[in-house]
């Protein structure tokens, strides 16, 4: 595994060029560039805010902010997974003709989405500061949080991009799985609303824990230790599951990688 990381490291420039390419292609042809990509979460936020605080009257204070600080990290996951599913197949001309560590293909998509996510966080930071939030007291948790979530995202993308070479219809399934995952994570609702007997399952979802952390930082503005949820135990379980997914993704990818060129 260390050897593989060394090889990957020697190809870092390719990884960064491809990441740059992803971003360039995404923003090319629009003067507003990055601001267009902000439009999606903002519109989603407006729609959900309308539905939940005006139509359904869920009674959550400042629902827009409540929502967006969990929505952005989840979008980082779901966009990465959705876009990287077909990354090996759509680059068949490269995979068939040139050797390079194949994980670069899904990884470049993750990095491009990470970059996007960070920019969104900066925009959120600015917006909240203007609104007078004092969340910056606890922002030191953020880099660690993003780092851990990054492993979850990488694990998932490695897994789906490799499996998709062998099961082409996985793409459709992934869309559904990501939707279920979205509603299975307390993003549009607070965890407390979930009936006691379901909370156990919801808490096993590492995204539940990470979303709660993001929310504690930006919305509740509580020290992570003093927030009640997530506690140490829940955090450790989430990190454990994250690492498990990462290693499964990694080993499945490495196991299937030699056959990519023959199968596509």
């Amino acid at each position: 595994m260390i050897k593989n990381f060394k090889i990957l490291f020697s190809y870092r420039e390719l990884l960064f060029s491809l990441t740059k390419k992803e971003l360039k292609v995404k923003y090319r042809g629009s003067v507003l560039g990055f601001f267009w990509s902000l439009l999606n979460p903002i519109l989603t936020m407006l729609v959900y805010t309308f539905v939940f605080s005006i139509v359904l009257r869920a009674g959550i204070k400042e629902f827009a902010i409540f929502l967006i600080c969990a929505l952005l990290p989840f979008n980082f996951l779901s966009n990465s997974v959705n876009y990287s599913t077909g990354s090996i197949i759509s680059n068949s001309n490269l995979v068939n003709k040139i050797y390079f560590p194949r994980e670069i293909l899904p990884l470049s998509i993750v990095l491009a989405n990470l970059f996007n996510f960070l920019l969104e966080l900066v925009a959120l930071f600015i917006a909240l500061t203007v609104l007078g939030y004092k969340f910056y007291l606890f922002i030191y948790v953020l880099p660690i949080l993003i780092f851990i979530q990054f492993f979850l995202v990488v694990g998932m993308t490695l897994l789906v991009s490799a499996l998709n070479v062998f099961f082409r219809d996985l793409q459709h399934l992934i869309t559904i799985i990501m939707m279920v995952w979205f509603f299975g994570t307390p993003i549009i609702y607070p965890l407390q609303m979930v009936p006691e007997r379901f909370q156990f399952i919801i808490k096993l979802n590492p995204m539940t824990v990470y979303a709660a952390y993001y929310r504690n930082i930006f919305y509740y503005i509580k020290y992570p230790e003093g927030a009640g949820f997530p506690g140490i135990m829940e955090t450790l379980i989430a990190v454990g599951i994250t690492l498990l997914i990462f290693f499964i993704g990694y080993f499945v990818f490495k196991k299937l990688e030699p056959r990519f060129a023959e199968e596509i």
């Binding site: 420039e13 491809l18 390419k21 292609v25 090319r28 003709k97 040139i98 082409r168 219809d169 030699p258």
Partner: protein, 455 residues
């Protein structure tokens, strides 16, 4: 670069084993060809197993070595495993068994401009393409001018490549690839890039590469290139090494093999064509018995030139053969050989004094020679319904080399209407040791007598 090379030489002296750049050790590569078109989860779950597949042995116990500084050519017919071999060396695929050992950095030119993104400019694509081929950004920065100059695309380098012509695309791809500067270069049929001038430039680059002591492995169908550039050639056939050795010997051997193959292919094709015609002959016979098709057939004689077969059907040509003087079926002969055109005619109605004929045309459709029983003043007599006659034309083929078509006919005594006419029944290939223009050989004797000028 120099430092690196020096270091590299020292290493080579210390370790004589490293003289070998690429070592292929009893490599097998087996492909699975799945019967299912697109692998899917749905099918897997429904059937609880993957669908059936066939195994295909692309490489069958292949071993050879390439020394540093050597230029190796790999030749062989399509599907012989050449590209599989290159892909193994480039680590794109893994051998089923055996070992592929590569000493030194390797770059593969299997496809030019692979991974170019249409929306990005030429310059941006150069960076990505170079990175894919394993080049550092600062090296690309240094070589950027060189790359652009070589590609002759200075004007267009900042336009998106989707606006490039395919030639421009390939030129840019090649310019990036040759600037990567690996120890070992794999080239797969990519030297045919751009116009003549650009090709000449490409060859120069390859020569320079060789001069600097780099290793090159080329797959090509261009046998002249292979014998020009290579110091060693591998001839692959059906995944096995047919022969390996000096370029001239191997290329000659391969050429002979291709010629043999071509000949077989032509014979096979003609056999199939003939079968097709025989089949229609038999079917036509059946129809004529019913008596309904006769008028239709005679109507068809209007555009006789383009039709494969036409006539009233009162007599049918069948069992057609082209024989040499030992009565073997042939489709080629040497100049001056005797050839027999033999066919049977089955009469469906009473016909008086029919005319039997043959016609030989060249491939443009010009009549080379035609004859029939009438022109030779042969009385054929009266044939009743059900009579069969066997007609033999023995011809001396005094034609220059080339392909000729043979047509056959049975006509009524008026010499204007026909019972049955089959156009281009056979192709006869005539082999002649001398070349000439036209069609007939007039047996020249050429002499020169020179008068020396007195001035």
């Amino acid at each position: 670069m120099n430092k690196k090379e020096n270091r590299y030489r020292e290493k080579r002296i210390k370790n004589p084993k490293n003289d070998v750049a690429v070592d292929i050790r009893s490599v097998f590569k087996r492909y699975r060809i799945y019967h299912e078109k697109i692998p899917s989860l749905k099918n897997t779950i429904l059937r609880m197993k993957r669908t059936t597949f066939e195994e295909f042995l692309a490489l069958d116990n292949v071993s050879f070595t390439v020394d540093h500084g050597q230029t190796l050519g790999i030749i062989g017919p399509n599907g012989s495993g050449k590209s599989t071999l290159l892909k193994l060396m480039a680590k794109i695929i893994q051998p089923t068994s055996g070992e592929v050992i590569v000493n030194g950095s390797l770059s593969a030119l299997l496809e030019l401009g692979a991974g170019f993104h249409p929306d990005l400019t030429g310059r941006e694509n150069v960076y990505i393409n170079a990175a894919i081929l394993g080049m550092r950004k600062r090296d690309v920065d240094k070589k950027m001018d060189e790359i652009i100059e070589f590609s002759e695309l200075a004007k267009f380098i900042d336009t998106p490549v989707k606006n490039y012509s395919s030639g421009m695309y390939m030129r840019l791809g090649f310019s990036v690839a040759i600037n990567v500067n690996p120890d070992i270069l794999l080239v797969d049929e990519v030297l045919a890039v751009g116009d003549q001038a650009f090709q000449a430039k490409c060859y120069k680059v390859i020569y320079n590469f060789m001069k600097r002591g780099k290793t090159i492995i080329i797959v090509s169908h261009d046998l002249d290139t292979v014998s020009d550039l290579c110091s060693k050639v591998v001839f692959l056939r059906n995944g096995k090494i047919e022969d390996i050795g000096r370029p001239l010997d191997i290329v000659t051997k391969y050429r002979a093999y291709i010629e043999e193959l071509d000949k077989k292919r032509i014979i096979e094709h003609q056999r199939a064509e003939r079968k097709k015609i025989f089949k229609t002959v038999i079917e036509d016979n059946k129809k004529v018995i019913d008596g309904e098709e006769i008028s239709r057939l005679s109507n068809l004689s209007v555009n006789e030139g383009t039709l494969k077969r036409f006539g009233s059907g009162d007599a049918q040509i069948q069992d057609i053969k082209l024989l040499d003087n030992k009565n073997r079926e042939v489709d080629f002969c040497k100049y001056g050989d005797d050839i027999k055109i033999v066919y049977e005619v089955l009469f469906r109605k009473k016909v008086e004094e029919p005319i039997f004929g043959v016609r030989i045309t060249d491939f443009k459709g010009n009549i080379v020679y035609g004859t029939n029983t009438r022109l030779n003043n042969i009385k054929t007599g009266i044939f009743k319904k059900g009579d069969i006659v066997k007609v033999t034309f023995r011809q001396k083929i005094s034609l220059i080399g080339g392909a000729y078509q043979i047509s056959l006919a049975v006509g009524y005594k008026d010499n204007k209407t026909y019972c049955d006419w089959i156009n281009d029944m056979f192709t006869l290939n005539v082999i002649h040791k001398n070349r000439a223009e036209g069609i007939s050989d007039l047996n020249p004797e050429i002499s020169l007598s020179k008068t020396i000028s007195k001035i």
